[in-house]
């Protein structure tokens, strides 16, 4: 595996480890990122184990317990039909986490690919791809969503496509910018001149360099995706009732602000914690991946 030697003073040979364990070692050192990872795992497990964890069924109403604040019986209170909010949040995690994650993954992969290709090859290809991105950007976020759902029908899968589509041009533009800068580095130019293939260059040298921006934006985008799904339900797109998707719960709470704030606060907190966790994790990943940091 790896050879290890003890360090004797400054001039000793430093330990050599495989890249994977090196990455893992550095990642472990970031306490906050590790905590975030744990939080995320807990969120995911709780969400997908909802049927065993949630105290109540997410759709059973109780008209005698409407809009009750948090109590021992209902940890997060009840909503406008008397349903337990805590249980709905757990169940809702399944939908919201999936929507957030998949839409960002889909949009990210496509966008990054387009951005790297565009920035690397330059010329007419760059011009063409970027002009297509410009056309996509001209349609404000909500519009492709409306189009996709109006044509394909409502439902969470189509919402994922819709949100992913609006993420593509952003990832593309971001990555292209960084690619342009990286292309100029001595390292890349030298590699080109000794004949390293373009694919190799893109994959092993340029792509990792764009990762820091991608990770940061992707982790932020998780939150906005969930919130976008919320605004989509206002127009009849997105999760259909009685889905406990967090964004839909937020939308319901809008009419009750000042009357039953807990309906908005709890899903809002859930989204906040999720986005925070993903962001801090992203920071940790970014810091650990960066080869130049010690």
């Amino acid at each position: 595996m790896t050879a290890t030697t003890t360090i004797i003073g400054q001039s000793a040979i430093p330990t050599i480890r495989s890249p994977v364990s090196e990455f893992y070692r550095r990642f472990k050192r970031q306490r906050l990122a590790m905590i975030s990872l744990v939080v995320i795992v807990v969120l995911v497990v709780t969400a997908f184990a909802a049927q065993w964890i949630a105290p109540y069924d997410q759709a059973t109403p109780d008209y005698d317990a409407l809009l009750e604040g948090p109590s021992w019986a209902h940890l997060a209170g009840t909503d406008s039909y008397g349903r337990d909010i805590f249980s709905r949040m757990i169940w809702g995690g399944q939908v919201s986490l999936t929507v957030g994650f998949l839409s960002v993954l889909l949009g990210g992969v496509v966008g990054v690919a387009l951005g790297v290709i565009s920035g690397f090859f330059g010329g007419w290809l760059d011009g063409f791809i970027m002009r297509v991105m410009d056309v996509m950007l001209a349609f404000p976020g909500i519009l492709p969503a409306i189009a996709v759902v109006a044509i394909l029908g409502p439902g969470i899968v189509n919402v994922i496509y819709a949100i992913a589509i609006s993420a593509v041009p952003v990832f593309a533009r971001l990555v292209r910018g960084t690619t342009l800068a990286l292309k100029q580095t001595l390292y890349v130019q030298a590699s080109r001149s000794i004949g390293v293939s373009r694919t190799q260059l893109m994959l092993r040298h340029i792509l990792p360099g764009t990762l820091s921006g991608v990770i940061v934006y992707a982790s932020l985008r998780m939150g906005t995706s969930i919130l976008t799904a919320a605004s989509l339900s206002f127009i009849g797109l997105g999760a259909q009732p009685p889905s406990p998707e967090w964004g839909a719960m937020l939308s319901d709470g809008r009419s009750y602000l000042g009357v039953a704030d807990h309906i908005t606060i709890f899903p809002g907190l859930a989204i906040l914690i999720t986005v925070l966790a993903f962001n801090l994790l992203g920071d940790g990943l970014r810091d650990a991946l960066d080869q130049k940091l010690r």
Binding site: M130, L137, L143, V170, S212, G213, G223, L280, D290, K292
Partner: protein, 306 residues
């Protein structure tokens, strides 16, 4: 340089042409009959057909597209299907409120965002980093309608210091710009931090430090200039997005902006308004991206733009 600019500007024509085709196709692909939506639920069939004929919606698609293009060529945007008002008047009324709100919000966002991001980057790993990171995240995961309504409740209803909304004097900008800018600031902050951290570890920075260049100088002249690339990209994109209208903020603060106009037009399938607005957004983005690309070259002269 001039040649590059000219080439880019000429290059915008095919973009705008494609946008016009796409948006035309888009509005016609959307299920829904504008004639019926405009005539209303209580209209008779004859009335609906009358509206359809008046708006030339019964003519074949290619003919409708041709009419649309010829109108555009004469720089005319047509009339709203719903209200018969000239589209240019509708957009003109809302353009300045949107532009001003965008500018003020972006200024706030950049100041707050870049400031927080630099703080994070300089104190990387310290408690300031985590606190600022958390504050930034708060900005982006806080639903803006909630923030907006809370602000209104506090500053307008309870304290009476600020107007609840609407496009008015400078006081009416404070809450909407804060709400809008905070979300953007969050993005700026994260990116600035990330870029900052990355670049500060570069060899040449360490060399500059070891040469005894004062820390401030190191940060500003060496690090930030190159960290700026993704930040510039983001700023441009966010500016463009905000120009497209910040729908939630416009709704909550009753701001007469382009975002609400678009959403309402889509609900009514008001083709001329939708088409005109999207074309406007396309023009805005093309210009913004041109400026961003030029800025890349300014910040890092090595980036040669072909």
């Amino acid at each position: 340089m001039l040649a590059y600019l000219l080439r880019r500007l000429i290059g915008t024509v095919p973009v705008l042409l494609s946008v016009s085709i796409f948006v035309f196709a888009f509005v016609h692909l959307l299920p829904g009959d504008p004639a019926r939506l405009v005539a209303g639920q209580e209209a008779t069939v004859e009335q609906v057909e009358g509206v359809r004929k008046e708006l030339a919606l019964d003519r074949p698609l290619w003919e409708q597209y041709a009419r649309y293009l010829s109108q555009l060529a004469r720089l005319q945007l047509g009339r709203s299907i719903k209200t018969h008002e000239p589209v240019s008047a509708l957009i003109a009324q809302r353009f300045m409120p949107t532009l001003w709100l965008t500018v003020v919000s972006m200024v706030w966002a950049v100041i707050l965002g870049v400031g927080l991001g630099v703080l994070c980057g300089v104190k990387r790993g310290g408690w300031q980093d985590r606190a600022a990171a958390a504050a930034a995240i708060l900005g982006i995961s806080f639903p803006s309608f909630w923030l907006g309504l809370l602000l209104i409740d506090l500053f307008s209803v309870r304290l009476g210091w600020l107007p609840t909304g609407g496009y008015g004097g400078w006081t009416s900008f404070i809450m909407p710009a804060f709400t809008l800018g905070s979300a953007v600031a969050a993005v700026m902050a994260r990116f600035t931090r990330s870029a900052f951290v990355e670049v500060s570890a570069e060899d040449y920075v360490r060399t500059a430090r070891s040469k005894g260049v004062p820390e401030r100088g190191v940060i500003w002249t060496h690090t930030l200039r190159n960290a700026l690339i993704p930040v510039i990209t983001l700023t441009g994109l966010q500016f463009g997005f905000l120009l497209g209208g910040a729908i939630v903020v416009e709704t909550v603060f009753a701001w007469p902006g382009l975002g609400r106009l678009l959403i309402d037009s889509v609900s009514f399938r008001d083709y001329p308004v939708i088409q005109a607005e999207i074309l406007l957004f396309a023009v805005e983005f093309v210009l913004i991206n041109l400026i961003v690309d030029l800025l890349y070259g300014l910040v890092n002269p090595e980036i040669r733009l072909q």
